[in-house]
């Protein structure tokens, strides 16, 4: 093999198969010092598999990986970490019962003069410094389980960049954080570039890719499609490389909503989390919920859905006051919720796609407690087609799906329960551009059917492109209710930071 | 021997208090001994603290430690193990509290002993088998829980008889852990492999004997196989009467219990007492079963 001296990482003819799936087929990659190299592809294209192999978490079937002048053979994570590769994982790999500092330094603990004796004071101080530098306000002694998904993501970032690595892999680092944190991350990336660190960057957010990447490699269905300098590409070309077809006009046209109020929330308060939240959503309307990380949007959604209690206020559904005590009641009343915490609240990993899709609506597919599998199969197949879920079949386990496809399964499940109002919490998190387009269309279809939609999203273009009205939350209080015609990104940000 | 009379004065006018630790209150025979102790205690106006060692020598030692801390006047112990329960005796004696072993022995000598020798019970049972078979035949033996004092001693007694009768062949021996259901399964499996070759079964307790009888009856082989066991629990006596169990060995719970308490009281009061009271076993067969079925 020919190796160039300035290459940090070189990958040649890497292949990997799972049972029934060829996840990677003869993939190539070159990463230079100080380069941000984006790896692009649809959900299930093989990006995460690729990165896990580089990290030593999976072993390839064939192919070679060179780190500078040395070949990496059968290296496990322990070794790759020592050799200077670190990774931000797509499916947050944190230890919930350990503190922030303990997570950041996991595997390379600070010790005193005895090499096995922990020096927690030292690691707390260091963690504090790193977090401060990143502009994140989390105490290093907080337990990870007490953080929001977004905060966990920031801890993962801190962990990866504090390793003094030569190569940092970032697998969808921004899927769970809002613009403010994204900006912080990009600043960090710039600094790292300057220090000669090579970065492999994966994201489904197109504008990010063009903002920071130098080079782009595209995968499609495990095949290597090509590598180009970012400056040679524009969004439509990139998308057609990824998808194999063209997608224009990402956001469908907004159809005006009806007048009937479906969900009405009055002065909803949960002490210390959010207070006096008041809004209504009408038939066929999309209400966007914008705000920064930690603004309390998820908490409001959880309270409405019966996952958390609320202290005061009132919720009305179709004009009736309801007191929702559990998700079971919420679903029965016609409320659906797609959580931002896909892994925790979204699906049952060991169950099949079909069983997951019908889980919230199982009584519809049952007679006298007896499940009618045929009826389930029909629905599951239809949903898989509608949402373009990429899988070997409805009987595939959800744990074996790529992140984006898992998200689609969750959405399918919630829609199957035929809700009057759906709360979508970061619905396109980790979803590829093609699928995003499909989900936007789907949201449009929902509203056309008269379903009311509450959409929480940290992607402002998404909020602006789909909502009829936008509610902005900041630190648990609502600061603005804007109509889409008057709203702009800057305006929303202003209210969100208030 | 002689007891100390200090306790009597120390006790003043208060009721005499005796701590009792029993091998296992899940064993019918032991429960009976314990009941007899309590009956006698009520008769004699003695206060009892009865605890269950659940077959654990460690627990038993701890219970005796606890009795010592509570300053009981005397201790009655139904030892779990010969050796392992000995520290209890040593500790009690060191604390100047008299201790009476009931039913079985420890290697450390207690103030007094009331009971029987497990080795003898097995000799009696096996002798009956030897006699019935004319000193010749194939025998299966069911052990109790391996390593426990009663199992060891009953095996020892049985082996003595095998030695004396070279034509008695021990076909196989396994543990059924004193348990009727386990014994039944074991017997079923044995019937598969030894079938018509078996002449007799010696089970180290009645529970297992009853299990063997059940399995043999179900297989239609009971009339061809002699089953003998030990303890004379009511079920076994009924079975002997019916003729399904050929014989059992009676251990006198009533005498053991009552005698143990009487001895303990004598010691505390400083009266004269027997250092060792051996209560004989009796073979129970169809001929004499009525006398035990009161």
């Amino acid at each position: 093999m020919t190796r160039q001296p300035d290459q940090l990482l070189q990958v040649r003819n890497l292949s990997k198969s799972f049972v029934g799936v060829k996840a990677l087929d003869q993939v190539q990659l070159d990463l230079k010092k100080g380069e941000v190299h984006a790896v692009m592809g649809e959900n299930g294209a093989g990006k995460s598999t690729f990165m896990k192999i580089l990290m030593g978490l999976l072993s390839p079937d064939s192919g070679e990986i060179w780190l500078e002048s040395e070949i990496l053979k059968n290296a496990d994570v322990n070794e790759t970490l020592k050799r200077g590769i670190s990774m931000i994982h797509q499916e947050m790999l944190v230890v919930p019962e350990l503190t922030v500092a303990q997570n950041i330094f996991l595997g390379r603990e600070k010790t005193n003069w005895l090499p096995f004796w922990l020096d927690d004071a030292h690691s707390n101080a260091q963690a504090e410094a790193i977090l401060q530098q990143m502009g994140v306000d989390i105490a290093p002694t907080t337990l990870l389980k007490h953080l929001s998904v977004a905060e966990m993501q920031m801890v993962e970032i801190a962990k990866a960049i504090s390793n003094n690595a030569k190569v940092i892999i970032m697998d969808e680092p921004t899927s769970a954080i809002s613009d403010k944190e994204v900006a912080t991350l990009f600043k960090i990336i710039k600094d790292l570039k300057q220090q000669g660190v090579g970065i492999l960057y994966i994201s489904h957010k197109m504008d990010e890719i063009f903002q920071i990447s130098d080079t782009i490699t595209v995968l499609r269905d495990g095949q290597y499609i090509g590598t180009k300098p970012a400056s040679d590409l524009d969004q439509p070309t990139l998308i057609s490389m990824m998808v194999g077809r063209e997608i224009t006009n990402l956001f469908p046209e907004i159809v005006p909503s009806k007048d009937d109020v479906v969900l009405s929330v009055k002065q909803l308060t949960r002490q210390g989390v959010f207070s006096d939240i008041t809004f209504e959503v009408r038939k066929g309307e999309v209400l966007g919920l914008a705000g920064l990380m930690g603004a309390g949007r998820t908490e409001v959604a959880r309270a409405i859905f019966g996952l958390d209690r609320y202290d005061s206020g009132e919720i009305q559904l179709n004009g009736q006051t309801v007191r929702v005590q559990s998700p079971a009641e919420a679903i029965a009343l016609g409320i659906g919720y797609v959580s931002e915490d896909r892994k925790g609240l979204g699906f049952i990993p060991a169950m099949t796609i079909q069983d997951n899709i019908t889980l919230s609506s199982l009584p519809q597919h049952a007679k006298a407690g007896w499940v009618m599998t045929d009826s389930e199969a029909t629905v599951a197949t239809r949903m898989m087609q509608n949402l373009r879920i990429k899988a070997t079949g409805a009987a595939q386990k959800v744990s074996h799906l790529s992140g984006g496809n898992q998200q689609k399964v969750v959405i399918a499940k919630v829609l199957q329960a035929a809700p009057d109002v759906v709360i979508l919490d970061e619905p396109t998190r980790g979803i590829d551009i093609g699928a995003k387009f499909e989900i936007y269309k789907l949201i449009n279809d929902l509203t056309a059917q008269g379903i009311a939609v509450v959409m929480i999203s940290s992607e402002l273009p998404e909020i602006l492109g789909l909502s009829h009205r936008i509610l902005v939350l900041s630190k648990g209080k609502q600061t603005a209710l804007l109509s889409t015609t008057e709203a702009t990104q800057d305006m929303i940000m202003k209210f969100a930071m208030q | 021997g002689q007891g100390s009379s200090d306790n009597k004065e120390a006790n003043g006018g208060k009721k005499m208090k005796i701590g009792v630790t029993m091998l296992s209150m899940q064993n019918e025979f032991i429960v009976k001994v314990s009941d007899e102790i309590e009956k006698k205690a009520q008769e004699m106006g003695v206060e009892l603290i009865v605890v269950d060692a659940e077959r654990s020598a460690l627990k038993q030692v701890e219970q005796v430690e606890s009795f010592i801390a509570q300053k009981v006047d005397a201790i009655i112990m139904n030892p779990c193990e010969v050796e392992a329960s000995s520290p209890a005796v040593t500790k009690a004696l060191a604390a100047k509290i008299p201790i009476v072993n009931v039913n079985s022995e420890t290697s450390a000598a207690p103030t007094a002993f009331v009971g029987s020798d497990d080795v003898e019970s097995a000799r009696i049972a096996m002798n009956y088998i030897a006699e019935k078979l004319g000193g010749k035949g194939n025998i299966l033996m069911m052990h109790g829980y391996m390593g426990q004092a009663a199992q060891i001693k009953r095996e020892q007694g049985a082996r003595e008889i095998f030695q004396k009768n070279p034509n008695l062949k021990l076909l196989a021996h396994q543990t059924a852990e004193w348990d009727r259901a386990k014994a039944m399964s074991l017997m079923e499996n044995w019937i598969q492999s030894y079938g018509a070759n078996v002449n007799a079964v010696f089970a180290q307790n009645d529970e297992m004997g009853m299990g063997a009888v059940n399995a043999l009856t179900a297989a239609g082989r009971k009339d061809k196989v002699i089953v003998v066991s030990i303890d004379a629990i009511p079920d076994a006596l009924q079975a002997v009467k019916k003729g399904t169990l050929n014989a059992t060995v009676f251990q006198n719970a009533q005498q053991q219990g009552a005698n143990a308490l009487e001895t303990a009281v004598k010691i505390v009061k400083g009266e004269k007492f027997e250092k060792q009271t051996l209560i004989p076993f009796q073979l129970v067969t169809k001929e004499n079963v009525e006398t035990f079925l009161k």
């Binding site: 859905f305 996952l307 559990s326 998700p327 079971a328 919420a330 679903i331 029965a332 919720y337 959580s339 925790g344 609240l345 979204g346 699906f347 049952i348 990993p349 060991a350 169950m351 069983d355 889980l359 919230s360 199982l362 009584p363 049952a366 407690g369 007896w370 499940v371 499940k413 329960a417 | 209150m25 899940q26 064993n27 019918e28 429960v31 052990h143 391996m146 196989a172 021996h173 396994q174 543990t175 348990d179 009727r180 259901a181 039944m184 399964s185 074991l186 079923e188 499996n189 044995w190 598969q192 492999s193 529970e207 009853m210 299990g211 059940n214 179900a218 629990i233 009511p234 079920d235 009924q238």
Partner: protein, 314 residues
């Protein structure tokens, strides 16, 4: 022939099936007595009690729980049933019904405490194990309850068309439990709760009700097992069933049910129970001395599961 092959391949998914076949073949070669109809009748009869318990605890383990009180429930229900089963008192349905119900009640109590208090199932059912043992002793005054009616004893010792009654019960409940787990809404929910409890809640499943159901079911099956045992040994024994819980849990896990919840099948559990029964029968047939029996038993069980896990990797 083809369908048989296909079917046995299908069985391969149930954890331990391959190892089970290997062990059976080995025993058949060493001892020809092993492969007789009469010996298998005995094995399956002996296995029936453990299998019933294992079915019950499979439901529980799939939800991510555990039940250590099985053995004590067997004792309580056995004692309760026996005390109502003397000849010429009640019709046989009474001891059976009340026996099973007492199991149901104890199971429901387990479920209630577990769902209401969030105390780990290990502690609740361990406590219930102790309580149950005490109850059985109190109810029976520490003495076996014998002199049971013939119709009651028939449950444990009788045969229908030459098939021992315990085997019939085993087959019926194997089918019922399989259907419940695979074909009903409750069965689906059981898997969901064990697979991801939070996600199950968020999907609108009333997790506590599902847990109540499995512990109650497990108690009911333990009640049935207790009655079977009592009828088999024709006595209600207060100290019966000690340690049964470990055998039952072992059968479930050997059969592929994961203690972390979410996976498991009744077929796997049945094979697990049969495996334990076959090894125990085989060791007796081969007359392995009792000390070594334990060593061999432990080693074979570990070995079988190791074999199986290698097999699955391929």
């Amino acid at each position: 022939m083809n369908t048989i092959l296909a079917r046995s391949k299908n069985l391969g998914q149930y954890g331990i099936f391959g190892a089970f076949v290997v062990i059976c073949l080995g025993l058949a070669v060493i001892n020809p007595q092993f492969m007789t109809v009469s010996n298998w009748t005995i094995i399956i009869t002996q296995v029936s009690i453990n299998a019933l318990l294992a079915f019950g605890v499979t439901f529980v383990i799939i939800t991510g729980g555990i039940d250590l009180s099985l053995g004590s429930m067997v004792a309580v229900t056995g004692v309760v049933a026996a005390s109502l089963a003397h000849p010429d008192t009640y019709p046989v349905i009474v001891p059976i019904g009340v026996g099973v119900l007492s199991g149901v009640a104890m199971g429901a109590l387990n479920g209630l405490v577990i769902t209401k208090s969030k105390v780990p199932p290990f502690i609740v059912t361990l406590g219930m194990m102790t309580i149950g043992r005490g109850l059985a002793l109190i109810l029976s005054k520490g003495r076996p309850i014998s002199n049971l009616s013939d119709s009651f004893n028939f449950i444990g010792g009788g045969s229908v068309l030459g098939i021992p009654f315990p085997i019939l019960i085993l087959v019926v409940f194997f089918i019922l439990c399989t259907l419940l787990l695979k074909k009903t809404v409750l069965g689906r929910y059981i898997y969901a709760v064990g697979g991801n409890e939070q996600a199950a809640t968020a999907s609108g499943i009333r997790v506590n009700k599902v847990k109540m159901a499995v512990y109650t079911l497990c108690g009911g099956l333990a009640g049935l097992a207790g009655i079977l045992l009592t009828a088999r040994i024709t006595t209600g024994q207060p100290n019966a069933g000690a340690g049964f819980e470990l055998d039952a849990i072992a059968a479930a896990i050997i059969g592929g049910t994961s203690t972390s919840g979410g996976t498991g099948t009744m077929t796997g559990t049945l094979i697990g129970a049969l495996l334990i029964g076959v090894i125990s029968n085989g060791l007796d047939l081969l007359n392995v001395t009792s000390y070594y029996q334990q060593v061999v038993m432990g080693a074979i069980i570990i070995g079988a599961v190791v074999l199986d896990s290698w097999n699955q990797k391929k």
